[in-house]
């Protein structure tokens, strides 16, 4: 009896080892970069952590395929390396020699990726399932692009500045005109009293004669 159970145990573990192998058709390679993610606070990878991994994966499979009771024993791990990478396959709870399809496993992992990551305090980049690309977060696109808002503010300020400046110069011109009218009235009175030559000194400098001087080199 004892020999039979021992033999069955050895046989099942041998079978399990056969089911799980590197480059298995229904298996995935997992790679953890704990030190990169956590630095000084990195935890050591040991059997217990591996147990947690298997349990999390069983949870992910249960989550995806309702009705089937996946257990920790259904997740078979092999080819562990010091890198902290290994291969795993998932066996069906109803038939332990039958592997769950690759696509089903992928869907399950994709669905519960976040939960798996959080269990190990890692991210999509540091807990890699080779062959399953992470679903990236949808980009946040606000209704008004932020640059347009800043543009509106600056444009409004500049536009206001121009309006103010133009209004100012129009007002100044008006004031000058009014001032000129008053001045002219005063000047006319004074001009009537002075001689005709009073305005002789206010001539305009005529450039045309001086220009001629420059090039008539005769």
């Amino acid at each position: 009896m004892l020999e039979k159970s021992l033999f069955l145990l050895c046989f099942s573990s041998a079978l399990a080892k056969q089911l799980c192998a590197p480059d298995a058709s229904d298996g995935y390679k997992v790679r953890l970069s704990i030190r990169t993610a956590l630095g000084d606070q990195a935890y050591a990878w040991n059997e217990d952590e591996l147990f947690l991994f298997r349990a999390t994966l069983a949870f992910a499979m249960r989550n995806r395929i309702s009705g089937q009771q996946f257990e920790v024993s259904n997740i078979i791990v092999c080819d562990e390396t010091p890198r902290v990478s290994f291969w795993f396959v998932v066996t069906s709870p109803s038939n332990t020699s039958h592997l769950v399809d690759k696509e089903e496993v992928e869907e399950a992992i994709r669905k519960s990726r976040n939960r798996i990551n959080s269990a190990f305090l890692l991210t999509d980049k540091t807990l890699e399932f080779l062959g399953i690309p992470p679903t990236l977060a949808a980009p946040v696109s606000p209704d008004t692009p932020p640059w347009l808002i800043v543009f509106g503010v600056v444009m409004g300020a500049v536009g206001a500045g121009i309006v103010v400046m133009l209004a100012f110069s129009v007002v100044q011109k008006k004031r000058k005109k009014d001032g000129k009218v008053v001045d002219e009235a005063v000047e006319e009175e004074t001009r009537a009293k002075t001689t005709d030559n009073g305005a002789a000194g206010d001539g305009v400098y005529n450039m045309s004669f001086s220009d001629d001087e420059r090039f008539t080199e005769m």
């Binding site: 990169t36 010091p82 949808a138 600056v154 444009m155 305009v204």
Partner: protein, 603 residues
């Protein structure tokens, strides 16, 4: 009737700051560091400073003297010097017009980047995700996020100059803003420009100083500065170095556009322009050197970051391939591990050798970039890796904006001042004339905001103002020294300053500067002929990088038109004046003949 006196600067300081603001532009930031890198680092300063004294200073002083003496814009001033050579002024205005059309696009890009800096994650820091949400967009993966942001999200560039698209709304809005602000700065002519230059001339220095101090605290900045200042003296034997130094001084000071003549035409008659010319030229060169120190510290930082991430990627690759524990390989031991693994597992190593990158700090520092690529791609790449990148981004692009706006002030003034000297336009209010010019340039400039607009920009940048300016300034200096007469010119200067220009100025104006200009001119022509068909860099979205492409026929025709349209102003105007003079001369002779004969018959 009283004629409005010519407006003038409120003080000589305003004139000085206007010249500084005009001369110190984007070229100091994005062309000089590149030249320094290409021509032997610190050693380049020798030809640069020699050219400053042989060519830059004398020509700068010459233009200021002309403007201050004639008190007219470039067209009026050159017509007054010699009516046959009024075309020189016209050529200056044409070149300024071309510059105004395309230069404000750079300001539009600066505005775009500035406005996009107000986000929690800078948009050029990460690649956007593709529609399946499985990874980044392919074009962005092949290139870098900063390149993708510039070529795709900013310009939406087409794959060649022949493919046209619509106007980009973001670009067009930013261009509108740039022109509106330019209008605001020049609306009242010298009165408004004079106030603005206090800010545009000084703020860039504040930012450069902040960046200098900050730059030196950045990790790896010292590598860049050390690299720049190690002189490679053998470059001095290369004639291209000297020609490049001469052209850089020439274009950096903004000679030949007519802006300096326009600015100094608003001076008081006895203003000491000689001292101001020396001051501005030295400030300009000093700023170039200052800016290149900042640029190289940023280069050093960026190169170090790139080098270290390359090392990190290699480390991860090795760890993953050989399944070693994470802390076995550190960044310092990557290279020795490569050798060790190559020796122990040659077969496996051969499999990954295609993915293995060669990480070389020298190579990273060697990548020399100039022009908009430096300002908008390389710098923004460095900024995104800094802590608190939004602050640095805002500071940097505001500085670029002020540098560009300051130069625009000079260029717009170069167009408006000669226009206002014409009787027809002087009766128009200055606000209206400025508005019309700005609106005209804005409407034409919208062509540069289309999907192929950036290629037209490159064309204008390379050919619109380079060759014609050399020709214009050459004619200028020969006219003043030989046709107008150097004795007469020296007398004019004595009239204004109170003393004759000393032997340095005399020798430079008469012999050295014209000789240098002719050499550079000949070199340009030879290079142009030897270069074959002109080419440009087209962005290929499948490869995710720029590809050298030849200009199509219509492009080459347009380049020819650009060059001919400004240069031909000089001979055509001379011809026109000659024809009208002979006509006028004939008519005058006819009148005198008829009067004499009439007198003969009188009793």
């Amino acid at each position: 009737m009283e004629k409005d006196a010519r407006p003038s600067w409120d003080s000589p300081v305003e004139f000085l700051l206007a010249c500084v603001s005009y001369a110190i532009g984007l070229g100091n930031v994005w062309r000089f560091p590149y030249l320094c890198q290409m021509h032997g680092g610190g050693g380049f300063l020798i030809p640069y400073l020699i050219m400053l004294f042989l060519e830059g200073l004398p020509l700068f002083c010459l233009e200021l003297a002309i403007g201050q003496k004639m008190r007219l814009g470039s067209i009026g001033a050159w017509t007054a010097i010699n009516p046959y050579l009024g075309g020189v002024g016209l050529a200056s205005v044409m070149t300024s017009l071309y510059l105004c059309l395309y230069y404000n696009i750079i300001n539009a890009w600066s505005f775009w980047y500035l406005f996009n800096s107000f986000q929690s994650v800078l948009p050029w820091a990460e690649c956007p995700i593709n529609s399946n949400r499985t990874g980044p967009i392919e074009e962005c993966e092949l290139a870098t996020p900063t390149q993708y942001f510039f070529y795709r999200e900013t310009l939406d560039i087409s794959s060649s100059i022949e493919e046209n698209g619509g106007v980009q709304t973001g670009q067009a809005l930013c261009l509108l803003l740039a022109w509106v602000i330019s209008y605001l700065f020049v609306v009242r002519g010298v009165k408004s420009t004079g106030k603005v230059v206090y800010f545009t001339a000084t703020f860039p220095y504040v930012v450069l100083l902040i960046y200098l101090i900050w730059g030196f605290t950045l990790h790896g900045a010292i590598n860049g500065v050390k690299y720049m200042f190690t002189p490679k003296m053998e470059q001095l034997a290369n004639p291209t170095t000297w020609v490049n130094a001469a052209t850089q001084i020439f274009f950096s000071l903004g000679l030949g556009f007519g802006s300096l003549i326009a600015f100094s035409s608003y001076n008081q008659y006895n203003n000491n322009f000689e001292r101001q010319a020396v001051a501005v030229s030295i400030i300009n060169s000093g700023t170039s050197i200052f800016a290149s120190i900042v640029t190289f510290s940023i280069y050093g930082f960026k190169a170090t970051i790139n080098y270290e991430s390359c090392l990190e990627r290699t480390r991860i690759l090795l760890l993953n391939t050989f399944d070693l524990a994470e802390d076995k390989i550190t960044m310092d031991t990557v290279f020795e591990w490569i050798e060790r693994l190559n020796a122990t597992y040659p077969q496996q190593f051969a499999e990954i050798s295609s993915k293995l990158e060669t990480c070389d700090l020298e190579k990273e520092l060697d990548t020399a970039v100039e022009g908009p690529g430096l300002a908008f791609i390389v710098y923004s790449e460095a900024i995104k890796d800094m802590p608190l990148p939004q602050l640095w981004s805002v500071l940097y692009f505001s500085m670029l904006l002020l540098l560009g706006m300051g130069s625009m002030l000079g260029n717009i003034t170069a167009i408006i001042t000669p226009l206002r000297d014409f009787k027809v336009l002087s009766s128009m209010s200055i606000e209206l004339l400025n508005g019309i010019v700005c609106l005209f340039c804005l409407l034409l400039g919208l062509g540069f905001t289309t999907t192929s607009g950036s290629y037209w920009f490159t064309m204008f940048n390379d050919y619109g103002a380079t060759f014609s300016l050399l020709f214009v300034v050459l004619v200028e200096v020969i006219t003043v020294s030989y046709i107008y007469g150097s004795k007469r010119f020296e007398k004019d200067v004595e009239d204004m300053l109170g003393h004759r220009p000393n032997w340095y100025w005399r020798i430079m104006w008469k012999f050295i500067s014209p000789l240098l200009l002719i050499t550079v001119f000949v070199f340009y022509i030879v290079n142009y002929i030897r270069g074959g068909t002109p080419t440009y860099q087209a962005w290929n979205k499948e490869l995710g990088q720029s590809v050298v492409t030849e200009y199509p026929v219509f492009g080459q025709v347009f380049i020819g038109l650009l060059l001919v349209s400004s240069i031909s102003c000089i001979p055509l105007t001379a011809l026109y004046v000659y024809c009208t003079r002979t006509k006028r001369g004939n008519r005058r002779r006819q009148l005198t003949v008829s009067t004499v004969s009439a007198e003969g018959l009188a009793p």
